[in-house]
């Protein structure tokens, strides 16, 4: 690691320390439904109870927005991400979006695109949609395999074309990108996938690896080997050097690859600037964080009180340093225990990206 990067990482650790004290709420995820129209092999949620679990009523969520959040924030500075399941399964999605827009909140969503018709897309844009991510997990055959739906690829590419066309022709462009889950089947096709995506109009492509959780925990075909992960980093760095905006996702401290495969230096913002309201009302940070780390429930607790006074496990992560492999790690100052979503219920770490890269700081 060169001196310039080391200084930058030290500065970033100072910024993180300040941010923990400030903890400005900037992103709020809402797990609005567990229903989904595909059955992905890698789904991070277990989705076992999705049929039985009812959607959270929109009024419950909006009540939290009105009584707990709006009095304390500038709505323009808080991005609400409606997640699932598949958010398009909710027929009232545009109504909810419009309600958020009228309150001054920008909102976004992540979708598999299958249910995103042109009419629906226009309806959502009119309802204030500002940010959208489409999942596309490879070339047609691999995408259909991972999504377990014969029309999944057609749906994703249709959605991509719709958004690309909108951004080309209209003056208020959406912030959008495509996200791809790198796995054993598609890792060898990354250059072809990028070419395919660029031909559809994509200019921002985010790639992530699968973590051993949810359905992926028992499917070895999904998890990258250390060699494949290292190849992924080299590939992303080379694409960025060639001027293509390809990024690795936000998770994981990446040592010498910091500053080379993402726009920003590593920061796990869970509980620092990111919160979530889950389907049962639980208050958490990123939606994939284990249940032990939930901080309250909107049906029992004041969201704002929890945000202000809870989340101590997130804002003081020194407890992570007592566990392997962090206890003797020289990268602690820069990494601080890796992503919060990678902590098991017992506090142990599922995955160390630095180890995968074979690096020591």
């Amino acid at each position: 690691m060169n001196l310039r990067l080391k200084i930058a990482l030290l500065l970033e650790s100072l910024r993180r320390k300040n941010l923990k004290q400030l903890h400005p709420l900037r992103q709020l995820f809402w797990e609005s439904t567990l229903r989904c129209n595909v059955h992905c092999l890698h789904c991070g949620s277990d989705c076992v109870a999705s049929v039985e679990t009812p959607d959270m009523p929109a009024e419950d969520f909006l009540n939290v927005i009105d009584t707990e959040i709006t009095p304390h924030v500038d709505p323009h500075q808080v991005l609400i991400i409606i997640s699932g399941g598949e958010p398009l399964m909710r027929k009232d999605l545009a109504d909810i979006g419009r309600a958020l827009m009228l309150r001054g909140y920008p909102w976004g969503m992540v979708t598999n695109g299958l249910a995103l018709t042109e009419t629906r897309f226009r309806e959502l844009v009119a309802a204030g949609l500002r940010s959208i991510t489409v999942s596309c997990d490879g070339l047609e055959k691999d995408h259909i395999w991972l999504r377990q739906h014969p029309l999944a690829f057609e749906g994703a590419t249709r959605a991509i074309r719709l958004i690309a066309d909108y951004n080309t022709n209209y003056p208020a462009p959406l912030t959008w990108d495509v996200v791809t889950c790198a796995n054993q089947r598609n890792i060898g096709h990354l250059p072809q996938i990028r070419e395919m995506l660029w031909s559809l109009g994509v200019r921002d492509w985010r790639v992530f690896g699968i973590d051993p959780m949810g359905r992926a925990a028992t499917n070895e075909e999904l998890l990258l080997t250390d060699d494949q992960f290292q190849y992924l980093m080299k590939y992303i760095a080379s694409e960025r050097e060639a001027g293509h905006h390809v990024s690795y996702s936000c998770e994981g401290y990446l040592g010498g690859y910091e500053g080379r495969v993402r726009d920003h230096l590593y920061l796990c913002a869970a509980g620092i600037s990111v919160a979530s309201i889950l389907i049962d009302g639980s208050i958490s940070a990123c939606t994939s964080i284990r249940g032990k780390y939930y901080q309250g429930n909107i049906y029992k607790d004041s969201f704002w009180s929890v945000w202000e006074n809870g989340f101590q496990l997130y804002r003081d992560r020194s407890w992570m340093r007592k566990k392997e492999p962090c206890n003797n790690c020289k990268a602690w100052t820069f990494c601080e225990g890796n992503g919060m979503h990678l902590r098991r219920e017992d506090g142990s770490l599922m995955l160390c990206h630095l180890h995968r890269l074979g690096q020591k700081n």
Partner: protein
């Protein structure tokens, strides 16, 4: 007061990072942390359209 100091300190750090060539922290804040607010005119148009029940296409409104 403390909040203001911390906020300014972080703005300074972002500036220093930019000098070092790590401009992404600022871009990250703009892209994900401080998104562009909805356009007031679009909000007004939507309300007006709802009242008149004459809803043009979304792209027309955005235009």
């Amino acid at each position: 007061m403390k909040k203001r100091i911390l906020t300014r300190a972080n703005a300074l750090i972002i500036l220093l990072l930019s000098v070092l060539g790590f401009t992404g922290c600022r871009e990250y804040l703009v892209k994900y942390g401080v998104p562009e607010p909805p356009k007031p005119t679009r909000v007004a148009e939507t309300v007006e359209n709802e009242e008149t029940q004459d809803i043009p296409s979304a792209t027309d409104q955005a235009r």
